[in-house]
């Protein structure tokens, strides 16, 4: 088989619970597939590097394609997709995000998907390079201490120096 360049970079730009999965799933799988992986976290993607991941939420507002099925209860009930049945305006109630976040975490656990915390630890332990965008940290008023240990800090040029050595890039 033709040996291709084995490096991969990911730009993670989203900071909600649902979009936290793809970068960590793909990065950890990349490492398992013998690739070298770097993730550049910028804008809302910085959320994924915070020490406290409990702030990651998924909102039903403006998220019309999210399926909403009960992760527990009788089989017939679990089959119903409530997503399209509930008018978006009704979600404008306090704690709606907490409810959908709770349901998504339940659904993920029920389907044997690892927690974000665990996926992130796997990525770190297996050598995924995690780079936090220095510029966004400044703009959003974060401190370096807000983030987990063992990550790197850099700007767009740092991303490009990683990308120059890779032939597989994803923007998430």
């Amino acid at each position: 088989m033709k040996k291709i360049n084995n490096n991969m970079t990911i730009i993670a730009t989203k900071g909600t619970l649902d979009w936290a999965y793809p970068p960590f799933i793909l990065a950890s799988t990349g490492i398992a597939m013998d690739k070298k992986v770097a993730i550049f976290f910028t804008f809302y993607g910085l959320n994924l590097l915070l020490k406290d991941l409990s702030k990651l939420k998924v909102s039903p507002i403006g998220n019309p394609n999210m399926p909403m099925k009960m992760p527990f209860g009788p089989k017939w009930l679990q089959k119903i997709n409530f997503g399209p049945k509930i008018p978006n305006i009704l979600w404008n109630i306090p704690f709606a995000d907490n409810f959908t976040t709770y349901m998504m975490k339940k659904t993920m656990a029920k389907n044997g998907v690892a927690k974000i915390e665990d996926l992130r630890t796997i990525c770190q332990d297996s050598g995924v390079k995690l780079i936090a965008c220095e510029m966004t940290i400044g703009v959003f008023g974060y401190e370096r201490e807000d983030f987990i240990e063992g990550i790197e800090f850099g700007g767009a040029a740092t991303y490009f120096s990683e990308a120059a050595e890779a032939d597989h890039h994803l923007y998430i």
Partner: protein
Amino acid sequence: MIEKTLDTSGLNCPLPILKTKQALNNMKTNQKLKLIATDPGSVKDVEAFCTQTGNKLIENKYSENKYIFIIEKQ
């Protein structure tokens, strides 16, 4: 001879692959790993994993609602 058995029943993508990689890391060349999975995606994934990492997929079958793979470490 099967050197090691790894049961990933109930686990979903990407955990079966990550655990397979981990298990193979601790094995010697030509030793065989038996992988059991319930994730239907693992059929394609294990094949792709073996092609990419150069390990040999010797057997790939489905029985009693489980996907069973025999992988020889290269």
